[in-house]
Amino acid sequence: MDWSGAITNGIISALGPVAIAYAVSAIGLNLQFGFTGLLNFGHVAFMMVGAYGTAATVEAGGSLWLGIGVGILAAVVLGLLLGLPTLRLRADYLAITTIAAAETLRLLVRSPVTRSVTGGVFGIQGFAEEFHALNPFGASTGYAIGPLVVSGRRLFVMIVGWTVVLILALIVRRLVKSPWGRLLKAIREDEDATRSLGKNVFVAKLQALALGGALASVGGVLLAIEQQNVSPDSFLPQVTFIIYVVVILGGAGTIWGPMLGAVIFQFFFYFVDSVMRQAQANVSWVGAILDSAGAAQIRFVLVGLGLMALLVFRPQGMLGSRREALVDG
């Protein structure tokens, strides 16, 4: 069993573009769920809208930078459209509605009806050349960071990406430490009590939803730029569930939790993948009950079990304090 190989795999993934996208997305979800208590289970839709907004704008002839702006703006609009009718629903109904809305949107994007804009089932490819053209590193040259080797292309994405993550985290930190942030936390604690103090709870929730969604859309944009590909099947509901795991793992309602959660999650996700693949190939009893395709799914099973275990044994995640543990105690 090649443990060091598995660990290396884990580390590369933990710092890579998917981790970045998850971190940014999680920062957005953390604002909605960790600080305001909104059970938004359609979060993947914001990532999708950001990614598709960018790609479709380029496809239609715009520049990449315009596309990014369109993507983020579209996410804000989605947040408003989603929030206006649904934010007065109680928490579990909100969860169901948001997951239904996200799936409906995805089905729409996937269907031939919208193919001219979204590419339907096939999606859109090759729209981010403007970004990669800015890369000061040689795209195919390998760069060594300690024992790891990454391509110049990926190195550029990582540097830009983590910088964006840091900036966004600091912006959210500023907001959260303000009276507006306190208002969000009060809403999380008890909406009716907050209302009785003369606060416009609905508008604050809408702001949190839209802003959180805009942040998540940046995650979608980053991933789309890196992969130069958007397709509807990358935005399934399970992505939302993974972002929830990331937020809870890092510590919901903390500033740095989302980043930490994304890094740790990605590490374990790919570490387990390496271990399972090797186990399936080399360890006899594992190979007998699982084929190689099956082994690749075990890490998802662990994600689900991990979420359960987190909520039961350590709901505050890594950085949260036990007394501030989440949802509804």
Binding site: T86, R110, P112, V113, R188, Q297, L307, D328
Partner: protein, 441 residues
């Protein structure tokens, strides 16, 4: 957070033996399933998607209810019927050469093979572990071929079938919410597990007829549901975990189960061998697949039984009492914990049956439950979260709406119709058609 959505029951210690029994039963079933697994895990198959070419710029229309038979050296190996998406799969026991024949008599009116001579493909080679895809070119008709009556009537039947499946599967979802306040996102996997366990006993080692194979599926469902309450949900409630946190726990559980099934059974859709080859027959001028009708009738009978149970039996009445007013029920002497366990067992058993019906009339695959979950939510919300009749009514309304929407909307969007219904319902009348508006404060 909303206080109404938290329901707590007083602490009641669970005897250790109950948990041990629950674990033992689950272990027993897991063992049974694992030993049947090798027979079903590694497979090769021949499959395809039957569709009609439509007008310029439009998508192919899937063709349902057509029988395709696979033979080798003149001996029948297996057959399948195309489902609502036109997909069909026939597992074959070993790699090699097979002949694949399409039964033209099962084509819907107005649809024909592009080349009537080519209704059979010979020497189709299948490699180990491969799903070999073959194509039958269809032509003729577009919308003009089948009459409107034919389409509408067929869609009503298919809609009732889908409705029946949703109704069966979501009664449990609704009742569990009513009694414990939990919106159970893993309910979908109870459906999937029901379908798969029946598959294991029907298509795998034991090779029982489907009706018999359904029994272990239901039994597993009942036990698993009861076990979940005893081992997981009950203890969490007594610890003081709120319903919203439990909802997220159920999301994790559903996730884990779904991918566990995918890991062990693979992504290949399967069919129950005894029913795979049942094609559409002509009836009153439209085509209908007999197993759909059987499923509808059987489901109605079962749902009727559930209604009777809730209205006429002591246990059912206790269930309704606990749902409507848990404190009052408890002070009246009802053993609330037992009622909750009963609700889980009943709901899970019904979901398992739903899974078998789903598998028989469509296909058995790892994501089948989850694909249904959102429609189940739609049904339950439409009818009224917490009521059994609401789930039944909602199930049929959603089923029929979804299928009949294909008269106006593209096929891929039909599920979206169900979801839009859900969203509209939650915004306009969250308590559903049969529910009662709640009091605040």
């Amino acid at each position: 957070m909303d206080e109404r959505s938290s329901r707590r029951y007083p602490f009641r210690p669970v005897p250790g033996t109950v948990r041990i029994r629950a674990f033992a039963l689950i272990a027993l079933f897991s063992g049974l399933i694992l030993q049947a697994l090798p027979a079903v895990a590694q497979e090769q198959a021949i499959g395809g998607t039957l569709s009609q070419r439509a007008e310029e710029g439009e998508d192919p229309v899937p063709v349902e209810g057509v029988v395709i038979t696979v033979t080798q050296d003149g001996n029948e190996v297996g057959s399948a019927t195309t489902d609502a998406e036109g997909n069909w799969t026939v597992p074959v026991p070993a790699p090699g050469d097979y002949d694949v024949a399409l039964d033209a008599s099962t084509l819907p009116p107005g649809v024909t093979l592009s080349d009537p001579e080519r209704s059979e493909l010979t020497d189709v080679n299948v490699r180990p572990g491969q799903t070999r895809r073959v194509i039958f070119q269809l032509g003729g008709g577009g919308a003009g071929g089948t009459s409107t009556w034919d389409r509408v009537a067929s869609l009503v039947v298919v809609g009732l079938k889908l409705g029946a499946i949703i109704a069966l599967s979501s009664v449990g979802l609704s009742l569990i919410f009513g009694v414990t306040g939990l919106v159970n996102f893993s309910h979908a996997e109870l459906v999937t597990l029901g379908a798969f366990i029946a598959y294991v006993f029907h298509a795998g080692g034991p090779r029982w007829p489907l009706v018999v194979a359904a029994l272990p599926a239901v039994l597993f469902g009942v036990t698993f549901g009861w076990g979940q309450e005893k081992v997981l949900w009950g203890p969490l409630r007594r610890r003081g975990m709120g319903v919203l946190t439990m909802m997220v726990v159920s999301i994790g559980l559903g996730f884990a189960l779904r991918f566990l099934i995918l890991a062990f059974f693979g992504g290949l859709p399967r069919a129950y061998p005894d029913f795979a080859s049942q094609g559409a027959v002509a009836f009153l001028g439209f085509s209908v697949v007999p197993k759909h009708v059987v499923a509808i009738v059987a489901a109605l009978v079962i749902l009727g039984g559930v209604g009777l149970f809730l209205e006429r039996t002591l246990a059912g009445t206790a269930l309704r009492a606990v749902r409507d007013n848990p404190d009052l029920a408890e002070s009246s002497g009802i053993a609330v914990d037992r009622v909750v366990a009963l609700t889980w067992a009943l709901g899970a058993g019904l979901a398992a049956i739903g899974g078998v019906f789903f598998g028989v009339t469509e296909s058995v695959q790892w994501s089948m439950g989850f694909d249904l979950l959102l429609l189940m939510f739609a049904a339950v919300v439409l009818g009224g979260l917490g009521t059994a009749y609401g789930a039944m009514l909602g199930g049929f309304v959603v089923g029929i709406s979804v299928e009949m929407s294909t008269l106006f909307f593209p096929n891929e969007l039909k599920n979206a119709v169900g979801l839009v219904l859900l969203i509209i319902m939650l915004i306009w009348r969250p308590q559903g058609l049969l529910g009662v508006r709640e009091r605040i404060g």
